[in-house]
């Protein structure tokens, strides 16, 4: 008999269920399958009512973040072979309300993302016809890792502070603000500071560093937040020490 593997999947339907429960499915084991392949097998062959988000199957669209045996993971990048012989427990991402089954409600994240003004606020404006802003490879290197975020929300599920305070702006949004602040073309740091340096912003972070550990794209939000804290403190001191500099 060919090998099988057991998935234990959280189910919740707000129209019919008073509370979430787990449902077990047995799927064929394939050495090169990821957890998403197993979920698609369930959807196509065992239970068409199971709901989850996915699209690219190559770890770049950020749709398929889930808790897999308690850890936040991209299900398209988590291989069955790493769980061979065990039951794989699949749940929606922690720290978000459940919309249905493995689908979370992510409105709060979308609001936080736009609150940090994640767009270029040019230091000096010029029309595209005037050509590109020059930026050396070294200047690009300063912020490059912070451009890699795919908004998969694994860091929000990993961050203990996100679990304690739902208003915390959170790792991905703060790292993205830092990305623009560090861009040699940008002059918008002060405009972003209102949210970034607020009580719900960088100061809410207790530097556990879980965000950076779980990031599938090797972004280091913890470092972004610490750098922003230092920079904000320096700005505050400068303001304090500069005559007439109080805002």
């Amino acid at each position: 008999m060919s090998e099988i593997i057991m998935l234990e999947v959280l189910r919740y339907h707000p129209e019919t269920d008073s509370a979430p429960y787990f449902q077990r499915y047995t799927v064929p084991y394939q050495d090169d399958w990821v957890v998403l392949d197993a979920l698609n097998h369930i959807k196509d062959h065992l239970d068409a009512t199971l709901s989850y988000r996915w699209s690219c199957h190559m770890a770049v669209c950020g749709s398929c973040g889930m808790m897999i045996n308690g850890e936040p993971k991209l299900s398209c990048h988590t291989f069955l072979r790493d769980y061979r012989g065990a039951v794989i427990r699949v749940e929606p991402l922690d720290h978000f309300p459940i919309e249905r089954d493995l689908v979370i409600v992510m409105d709060s994240f979308m609001d936080k993302l736009s609150s940090v003004k994640p767009w270029l606020i040019p230091k000096q404006d010029k029309p595209p016809s005037a050509g590109e802003y020059l930026q050396s490879p070294a200047e690009l290197g300063v912020f490059h890792q912070y451009t890699q975020c795919i908004n998969c929300l694994l860091c929000y599920a990993a961050c203990p502070q996100c679990g304690l305070n739902e208003d915390f702006v959170g790792p991905a949004a703060l790292a993205l603000a830092h990305r623009y602040n560090l861009d040699s073309r940008d002059g918008g740091k002060d405009a972003r500071a209102e949210v970034v340096a607020s009580n719900e912003g960088i100061w809410e972070c207790t530097f556990v560093g879980a965000c950076s550990e779980v990031c599938p794209k090797h972004v280091d939000p913890a470092a972004a937040i610490q750098q922003t804290k230092i920079s904000a403190s320096v700005d505050w001191l400068k303001d304090l020490l500069t005559p007439g500099g109080h805002r």
Binding site: M58, S63, E99, L113, L120, L140, L176
Partner: protein
């Protein structure tokens, strides 16, 4: 039914849809915009584009070069007025992305860097490492957040266009989190929903690329143009179909068969040296490379694997530093999904369905024949890609024609504002009919076919009958099977009849779109009795300009197969000639 009033409704929030929305917002901040997408914008499949975006920017290049490469690359099926406009505008739009913060890779002097790409005479492909689409999408999405007039409707699945008195006046959509239907009443509508690669079983395309917008327009009477032209990308990972960018060959990677032989030299693409060399060998166009693989397979010179035959892509000669700097995602993807570190070993690859060259017929202003309806990006066919798209033209296309669609829709809305929304308080008869169709789907009884069984049958027949090489017999067979599947689809019951985030429902609706679009592809292919670009007929191996230097126009006829009519190609200054690659290429 709830009604939402808006000036412009945009369906699809990938690169083209976002660019359209920003263009509307910038052209007139007083116009309200509803940006409707079945996924959050950053999930759109633009995200997966890797290698780059073409636009003339360096002193050693010219707009004429880009024009000629594109027209010959498309086997002269491109509309040359559209290509002219495209090559002229691409640099402006790519610079605009730079001004919005796109992290383009740079030369030492701080200017944007460019890399060679297949079928391009000069290196002109702007890139952001090998995640160019990802960076373009996120740059556009983040930039879109600063315009208050753009109101997003994330995870709304559009089912139907509203057409009244010969004019498009909105779109009907399902709010996925509640299941309720909403009528967006608009003065103009833009479709930017991407391609339809999911019609085929082995594709680089994400799950969302199911041709929804194409089907909506087609059912509303807009022809689908040149649908027989489906691009196979020569280098996908076996099993998953994950794309390995052409940029890896642009940087110097080579393709070898089971004997370690650079087989492309046997297919009018050689000689192999000097290498790298533009428009030759591994930098030939995608149609020729995918066809060469097919021939190698016939000759038994490919490598057998459990996921089909492969050849090897070898980028070891680039070295670890260059691979990490320019092709980091290629390394990550190969390591994760086939267990190969390309720094030390060759990557197994095979041709994979990648891009829908055909699409919703538009003119060079991105306007469809249906007044008030515009389309841009992969879902559209403005005819810059002809019979074979050159790699890196489509990322430029989404911004060039996305912006144009947005401006066109804005102008149309303003010019026709007084005539719009005749019954603004109600959804209107067209929307009510759409809701009735959905209700009928929910009420269907019985067992029988499921989404996954019909979808698999469609996938299988498209691969066996309408793949890289096609024949009269295989296409006839595929057309017959598709007709049967469409009939069975009309009786297929849902397995999930609930309201909240019902993905069984969404997949059922997507399947309906794919079946309609697939029949347009297969019929167009059956009736084009020549070989041109990506459309290769074994019994008609030559291009036939006398009869087929024309666009195929597939017209929807309900339950019957589409009728195919033809439309002249716009030729301005490049007369059809032989496509030449390899040593003789100019």
């Amino acid at each position: 039914m709830d009604v939402i009033e808006t000036d412009i409704a945009i369906v699809g929030a990938g690169g083209a849809g976002l660019r359209a929305a920003i263009a509307v917002a910038e052209s007139d901040p007083s116009l309200s915009i509803a940006l409707i997408s079945k996924v959050y914008p950053m999930r759109s499949h633009t995200v997966a584009a890797e290698g780059g975006a073409a636009g003339v920017i360096k002193g050693n290049d010219s707009l004429d070069n880009h024009f000629n490469d594109t027209v010959s690359g498309g086997d002269w099926l491109c509309d040359q007025d559209a290509v002219e406009l495209f090559v002229n505008t691409a640099p402006v739009e790519l610079l605009q992305l730079e001004h919005w913060g796109c992290p383009w890779s740079r030369e030492a002097n701080g200017t944007v860097a460019v890399r060679p790409f297949g079928g391009m005479k000069i290196e002109r492909t702007w890139y952001a490492a090998d995640k160019t689409g990802f960076h373009i999408l996120h740059t556009l999405f983040q930039t879109s957040l600063k315009y208050p007039s753009i109101r997003r409707f994330d995870e709304y699945y559009s089912t139907d266009l509203i057409v009244e008195d010969g004019r498009c006046t909105g779109v009907v959509a399902i709010e996925m989190r509640s299941g309720r239907m909403v009528a967006f009443r608009a003065k103009a509508v833009v479709i930017a929903t991407g391609g339809a690669g999911r019609i085929f079983p082995f594709t680089t395309n994400g799950a969302i690329k199911t041709g929804d917008g194409m089907a909506m327009a087609y059912r509303a009477g807009v022809p689908l143009k040149d649908m027989e032209f489906m691009q196979y990308h020569p280098t996908g990972l076996p099993g998953t179909g994950i794309l390995i960018t052409e940029g890896s060959r642009g940087e110097g990677g080579i393709l070898v068969n089971k004997d370690g032989y650079r087989y492309l030299q046997d297919y009018n693409l050689g000689p192999p040296d000097p290498w790298p060399r533009k428009k030759a060998m591994e930098l030939g166009p995608r149609d020729r490379l995918s066809q060469a693989f097919w021939h190698e397979q016939q000759k038994g010179r490919t490598i057998k694997t459990p996921h089909g035959d492969v050849v090897h892509l070898d980028i070891r000669q680039l070295g670890e530093k260059m691979i990490n700097e320019r092709l980091p995602m290629v390394r990550e993807l190969a390591l994760a999904y086939v267990g190969v570190d390309p720094v030390h070993a060759m990557i197994p690859v095979r041709p994979v369905v990648h891009y829908t060259m055909g699409g919703i017929h538009t003119d060079i202003d991105a306007a469809t024949p249906l007044p008030g309806l515009f389309a841009a990006g992969e879902c559209a066919c403005v005819s810059i890609n002809g019979a074979n798209r050159l790699g890196s033209n489509s990322l430029a296309e989404i911004v060039v024609f996305g912006a144009r669609a947005g401006r066109g829709a804005a102008a149309f809305a303003k010019a026709n504002s007084s005539k719009a929304n005749p019954k603004p308080a109600s959804a209107g008869a067209a929307a009510e009919a759409a809701q009735a169709r959905l209700r009928e789907l929910f009420e269907r009884e019985g067992g029988g076919d499921s989404v996954s069984s019909l979808r698999k049958a469609m996938n299988d027949t498209m691969e066996s009958g309408a793949g890289i090489y096609r024949t009269e017999q295989t296409l006839q067979e595929t057309c017959g099977i598709l007709a049967d599947l469409r009939a069975r689809y009309r009786k297929m019951p849902l397995q999930d009849r609930s309201n909240v985030f019902n993905t069984d429902l969404i997949q059922a609706l997507e399947l309906g779109c794919m079946l309609d679009v697939a029949s347009a592809m297969a019929q167009s292919a059956l009736q084009r009795k020549e070989s041109r670009g990506s459309h290769q007929r074994l019994e008609y191996p030559d291009r036939d300009d006398a009869n087929y230097l024309k666009h195929s126009m597939a017209n929807y006829r309900g339950d019957a197969a589409p009728s195919i009519s033809y439309r002249d190609v716009v030729i301005t200054r490049s007369q059809p000639a032989e496509r030449v690659y390899g040593g003789a290429a100019t």
